[in-house]
């Protein structure tokens, strides 16, 4: 049976070669003409995008203001800033949004590595999964549905990733008193100061706290972090180098905040017992 198929597909390919030889047309000039036109269109589009990028930038077309296609460049990289919302280039938005769907800690690895790896392996395996010689789309219902699903889900994920709004520090400070009340640390000055830092330092871009915050890339909910009683020293060490204390952690280092601020943050985290 299988060998029949091999014989048959060899015959079809042999016939393809004969058909092309008999009835085909030379690559030059026919196909090459189409290719050249298309390539010129591509170059024109690229040059056009570069021109629009530059000449829609407000002012004298330099600097960090955004034009139609975004900023020419941003402020210089500053590892000390901690409330900057990380954003990849648009073609990674689907991956970026995929990460938000998964929650820390058990399933996040599915989103970051598992699913993309599975997709890549599936993609590589396509010719070995679909071994029929039928090429007409309407007679390949599985391929048709699969490709439609992939296109729709990539489109939706890209759109969601593009429009996702992360928490911004300044608006979150207003929530500090209510946090202190729910979590019963109103009297603890260090913890309240830590809560302010927590609100403005970008923690909520990833973490959730009392129903506020991001979930990117599946970082844990910290509302009851203190209930684990890990201690101030642990929290401070973790903030300085998350991966050293918790191997494999994707969280960046917050050592730039300095000892005093880190102690406040650690106090805040230890004071957050989940409102109990």
């Amino acid at each position: 049976m299988a060998s029949d198929r091999i014989v048959e597909r060899r015959r079809v390919f042999q016939q393809y070669k004969e058909d092309v030889k008999e009835r085909g047309k030379p690559f030059y000039p026919y196909a090459m003409f189409h290719d050249t036109v298309m390539s010129l269109v591509v170059v024109a589009v690229i040059v056009g995008l570069a021109i629009v990028w530059k000449y829609t930038t407000p002012g004298n077309h330099i600097g960090t203001q955004a034009g139609w296609l975004g900023k020419l460049y941003d402020d210089p990289a500053d590892p000390g800033t901690i409330n900057f919302v990380p954003r990849p280039d648009w073609y990674f938005y689907f991956l970026f949004y995929l990460l938000r769907i998964f929650k820390w800690p058990n399933s996040v690895i599915l989103g970051t590595i598992g699913l993309p790896t599975v997709l890549l392996v599936l993609l590589l395996a396509v010719p070995f999964i679909d071994i029929r010689s039928e090429r007409r789309l309407l007679r390949r219902p599985v391929a048709l549905v699969a490709s439609a699903l992939v296109i729709v889900s990539m489109g939706v994920l890209t759109y969601k990733g593009a429009t996702a709004k992360e928490s911004l520090g300044s608006e979150l400070i207003a929530k500090v008193p209510s946090w202190a009340k729910t979590e019963h640390f109103t009297g603890n000055k260090e913890a309240v100061a830590g809560a302010h830092l927590f609100a403005v330092s970008g923690c909520l871009n990833c973490h959730t706290y009392n129903g506020t915050g991001g979930g990117f890339p599946g970082a844990p909910n910290l509302s009851a972090e203190g209930a684990k009683n890990k201690g101030i020293t642990f929290q401070m060490n973790h903030l300085k180098c998350p991966a050293c204390v918790n191997p494999g952690s994707p969280m960046p280092s917050f050592a730039g905040l300095g000892e005093d601020n880190l102690r406040k943050l650690a106090n805040f985290l230890e004071a957050s017992k989940g409102g109990k």
């Binding site: 058909d19 009835r23 690229i46 330099i62 990849p88």
Partner: protein, 269 residues
């Protein structure tokens, strides 16, 4: 052997053809080019099948603009004491604002990347919908998927180079995500960063990966990709009545003309 005096035009022709013949005799390249240009393709190919060469064009644009950018860009994150700006950032700003047509070259590279990636996806979609990955072209599909993965790798590594806030923080998260992968993850993250965190070596490392390692691999794989296209031929659109290779069921007939009469009508199981 009797020699005859050559006419003026024969002499001229010989003189012109001499370098071509010289090259052909020693390399066979002329024959190769001739084979490439005059090989037959199915008569019914259509515009969707130009997406592959369009992708190649986008890659060539990236290679050319990238080479020009490399002449001015400095992959150095240390802060210039006079301007208080990182050297890399400053060189990117210099390219964008000062150098003649620098904004155009950088803009073409920046947006050419997006166009390249869109075209790779469209080309892949076309190949999928045409069923062009089927026997005997499976290997070329695999090469294509690897090219796609490397193209995305170029996007990731190139994004850091302007060394501004956007690029820096996107990379911090990106590298950390790599680090969460089981087994190899931490090593991969450490390899990318050149250490346990993003430091002065990270930028030059990304730069080397972005402009030497991956582009070299992409160029080599494109060569293999094209070799396989030429060797195996271009497919007809699957809906074509004239589609090559869709002979009749009783295709054992050795007579090409008789076979052609039944093309594609009864050729399918």
């Amino acid at each position: 052997m009797a020699t005859r005096r050559l006419t003026r035009s024969e002499q001229l022709q010989q003189t012109i053809m001499y370098p071509v013949d010289w090259l052909e005799e020693r390399s066979g390249l002329i024959g190769g080019v001739r084979y490439f240009l005059f090989r037959k393709v199915p008569g019914d190919i259509n515009w969707f099948q130009t997406l592959g060469s369009a992708t190649l064009t986008a890659f060539i644009v990236q290679a050319l603009t990238g080479s020009i950018l490399a002449m001015y860009y400095k992959p150095d994150p240390t802060v210039d004491p006079t301007t208080k700006l990182p050297v890399a950032y400053q060189s990117m700003q210099h390219i964008t604002n000062d150098i003649f047509a620098g904004w155009l070259v950088r803009g073409m590279h920046r947006w050419g990347a997006s166009v390249f990636i869109i075209l790779m996806f469209m080309h892949m979609g076309r190949v999928f919908l045409f069923g062009a990955y089927k026997y005997p072209r499976e290997l070329n599909w695999i090469v294509g998927v690897l090219l796609l993965a490397m193209g995305l790798g170029e996007g990731f590594t190139g994004y850091l180079l302007p060394w501004d806030q956007t690029s820096y923080w996107a990379t911090v998260v990106g590298v950390n995500i790599n680090g969460t992968a089981p087994f190899l993850g931490p090593f991969l993250a450490q390899f990318l960063q050149g250490g346990t965190y993003i430091n002065a070596d990270t930028l030059s490392r990304f730069y080397a990966i972005h402009m030497l390692m991956i582009p070299g691999a992409i160029a080599a794989l494109i060569g293999l990709h094209l070799y396989l296209v030429v060797r195996l031929g271009v497919t007809s659109p699957p809906w074509s009545k004239e589609a090559a290779g869709t002979g009749p069921l009783n295709g054992a007939s050795p007579n090409g003309n008789a076979r052609r009469a039944g093309l594609s009508r009864f050729g399918r199981r």
